[in-house]
């Protein structure tokens, strides 16, 4: 047993020293396995709490969902043994990622939201966070009308212990304005984020990439040009920002396609193995748009992909690669739309290719 504890502690210590990413995840998973092998539930819980965080903020949403489910089960069996605040707090991260997976039916997402509401009420906080996540999830599921309604419900209530930080809340409201086509209002609302007055671990990283094209569309091209490298530097080493990588590629595809190629080379091999289908889809579309643009304008270019990439064989066959990326993205869109009972993502993809390709 002592041997287990020493090895477990070593792994955890080493993991704490690493940035959120694959290396950290590998150590934590190993730690959780060791704990399971030793039958040590507390240690397993501790490791999984980290897995949930790294998964949510380092690009492994599926691993986060799996680890969190296990944690919640242990908590329900023995609520006194674990720290309730962190567990309740982390529920938000996990529920936020579930709609990305088309295999999860809408009804199950609905049940999960109600489960969160029940647990939060029992924990003694208001429905504010519940409405906020309904708002977010409706956006992800392509129901912007509903999202607007939930946003109003959410705004009626006062902040409490489970509220996201104000930077994150602002970021989501900016997103809503962007998705509903209100570029100017969105850019204005985002000012505190752009200026650095509102920030956290996730903001402005997740906000700025989505402002590039709106700024460009508003004719504020200089601002967009200046923002692009700054914004990219914030996210480039974190695989949680797959969609954001795509936004950068999409933006560059319009203003300076050659500049987008290194991004594509760097990120495509990472993204193809990424767990999150929705974000993968967004990346593929932007990648396809870039290739389409380059092919259409007749620019000569080369693409250097590593042999381990699924797309290695297509590195020199640009049009086929474009076609493959597009097809895979639309296949994901189709399955998301089927689950969501709308045509939102399929339309979204077509629009995106039209604008950026």
């Amino acid at each position: 047993m002592d041997h287990f504890e020493a090895e477990f502690e070593d792994l955890m210590t080493e993991a704490y020293g690493l940035p959120n990413g694959a290396a950290k995840m590998a150590l934590l998973e190993r730690a959780a396995e060791l704990a399971d092998l030793a039958g040590n539930i507390e240690a397993g819980y501790e490791a999984r709490e980290e897995i949930v965080e790294v998964g949510s903020f380092g690009g492994f949403p599926l691993k986060a969902i799996v680890a969190y489910s296990w944690q919640l089960g242990q908590y329900d069996r023995n609520p006194e043994a674990y720290e309730a605040h962190t567990l309740h707090w982390n529920y938000k991260w996990v529920i936020d990622d579930v709609p990305s997976f088309p295999d999860v039916p809408a009804q199950q997402i609905e049940s999960l939201l109600e489960d969160l509401r029940r647990r939060y009420r029992e924990y003694g906080v208001s429905d504010r966070t519940y409405w906020y996540y309904r708002f977010r999830i409706s956006m992800y599921m392509g129901d912007l009308d509903k999202a607007g309604e939930y946003l109003n419900e959410f705004r009626k209530l006062k902040r409490d212990a489970m509220s996201d930080c104000s930077a994150c809340e602002l970021d989501e409201q900016v997103r809503y304005l962007l998705l509903t086509g209100q570029d100017e209002a969105a850019v204005k609302k985002a000012q505190p984020i752009v200026k650095g007055r509102q920030r956290c671990a996730h903001v402005p990283h997740a906000t700025l990439p989505f402002l590039l094209l709106p700024l460009h569309r508003l004719g504020r091209t200089e601002e967009a040009d200046k923002l692009q490298p700054e914004s990219y530097k914030l996210i480039r080493d974190n695989l949680t920002f797959v969609h954001e990588f795509g936004e950068h590629i999409g933006y560059l595809s319009i203003v300076d396609p050659q500049k987008a190629l290194p991004l594509l080379e760097r990120h495509l091999p990472q993204v193809e193995g990424h767990e999150d289908p929705l974000n993968r889809m967004m990346f593929y579309w932007n990648a396809a748009a870039l290739l389409q643009k380059l092919i259409r304008t007749g620019e000569t270019f080369v693409l250097n992909l590593p042999p381990s990439s699924r797309f290695y064989d297509l590195a020199d066959n640009h049009d086929e690669l474009r076609h493959k990326l597009e097809t895979e993205a639309f296949a994901i869109a189709q399955s998301l739309d089927t689950r969501n009972a709308n045509t939102y993502y399929t339309e979204y993809g077509k629009e995106l290719l039209k604008e950026r390709g």
């Binding site: 704490y16 020293g17 690493l18 489910s69 049940s111 999960l112």
Partner: protein, 608 residues
Amino acid sequence: MSDSQEYRFQVNLSGMIDILSNHLYSSPRVFLRELLQNATDAITARMDLDPSHRGEVSVELASHGADATLLMQDNGIGLTEEDVHEFLAMIGHSSKRNGTELLGETSFIGRFGIGLLSCFMVSDEIVMLTQSASGGPSIEWRGKPDGTYTIRKLETSLTPGTKVYLRCKPETDFYFEAETVELDLLHYGALLPYPIRLSAGGREQRINPEVPDWIVRPDLAHGSPDEVLRFGEKMLGERFRDFIPLRTSTGRTGGIAYVLPHAVNLNANRSHKVYLKRMLISEQADNILPEWAFFVKCLIWTDELQPTASREHFYENEQLERVRGELGEAIRDALIRMSEQDQARLRRIVELHALSMKNLAVEDDAFYRMIHRWLPFESTYGHKTLGELIDEEQTLYYTATLDHYRQLRHVASAQSMLVVNGGYIYEAELLESLTRILPGIDVRRLLPEDVSLAFTDLNPEERSATLQAARTADLALQRFRCRILLKRFKPEELPALFTLPEEAATLRSIERASEESPQAFASILGSLGGSLQGEASSYSILYLNLNNPVVERLFTGRSTSRLNTLVEMLYANALMMGHYPMSRSELALMNKGILSLIDWSMESEKGE
């Protein structure tokens, strides 16, 4: 400065002091830095007029405890009466007019006033005597924290320069103690090019050493390495063994990067000492070097970066980005030179800081190309550097995870395959991109299922002899979505090898979590797992080794009704050998199996 503004905001000075002390500066201690900065600026200004002037700063401490006083004197340019009015006016201005410049890059006079104000953090009265080098009467200024002040022309004429007297206010006498003042003066002023003297308790001493040439011209540092290392120990508190001189192309930033004598945590704070115009600005400047440079601790001076309002950090702007890039470049170039000229030295550094080097190599092909031969790896041929492994001229297999490596290590060693453990932090990524920097090298990722490539298939006779038993065994493991394959492989002591393709591994973890989860989540895990289940790759594989005598007897000997239980036991055993945590049903299986074994062995005893 002529002032066209008609109205001025009245500033509540005590409010301003409160802002300075509680929000801007990290500690009241900085008053000494501010005074020293004022003295330095004044001396610099005087030397602009008269290059032959030799600057000097002296500090005197008198009395103890609640009566302690501090006098700082410089022989700088001094202030005229007009200057004094001007800085008071500057303080009186709304900070809006000059934006952030109020505390950033303002004129000498403006900054002077702000610096002086910081003294109210430790003193309830400031007395300043000053004589301008450009003539005019000597001036006495007395200020109080409530904003009232008096100005008086003195009848006698002082020598040019400025003296500031402070009397400690209650509970700040700590800042007036000789040891504190001595430490802080050295701390802030170590690189100042003129003497700072401290007299206290009847003793006078020079605080800062002569500034060595190689600080100003780091290219000279290699000429006196021992001195450089000693200086580093004195300034940074660690005993170093190696250093790299730093300099930007403008020549306006430079210093010494000391190689840390111990490994460092990737997330650890980097605390370089940075001097702006020869004055210490920060001990926590973490943004002056690229993130990857965590194996060095630096002494850096610069006069091209802009400090933040508190003068404790630098603004993150293009200038800083360029400087950071160039300093990083200097470290890189030094390593490249070592790889050409002094490999033993490079090897020592790499061994100590392998982790950060690997991190850098992952992000930077050029660096990787340069350093790759010295990076250490764990392999079936032992702990070796990548260069040594390449020199083996074998196919270089690597595993993507630590678990794969552990599973395959024994099997691979037995067949003399060269397998590198890629599951440790950055290894897999590095090995994957090795072809990019060394075209033509034979590197392949090894999956557990690939090991079977080296396994021998059964011959037709063996196949038919084992067919019946193999089918039964396969059926027994069907509910665990595991197939069995009979092969011959080394080492023969190994009866079975369990391999788990990635998708099967995901599915396995989903199922184990699902057993433990509340309803709402269990159904979601069911949906997530469901989509994976249909695919053949979601099956794990149990290789059974016909070279192993027990396995051979089990599959080619007399058929036995106990085959199911025995195969299940082999399965459970292989899981344990591969360090796989088991699901509840697998644990149940093992319990049942062990009980059966006990039962059978007792039966056979009875039979004897």
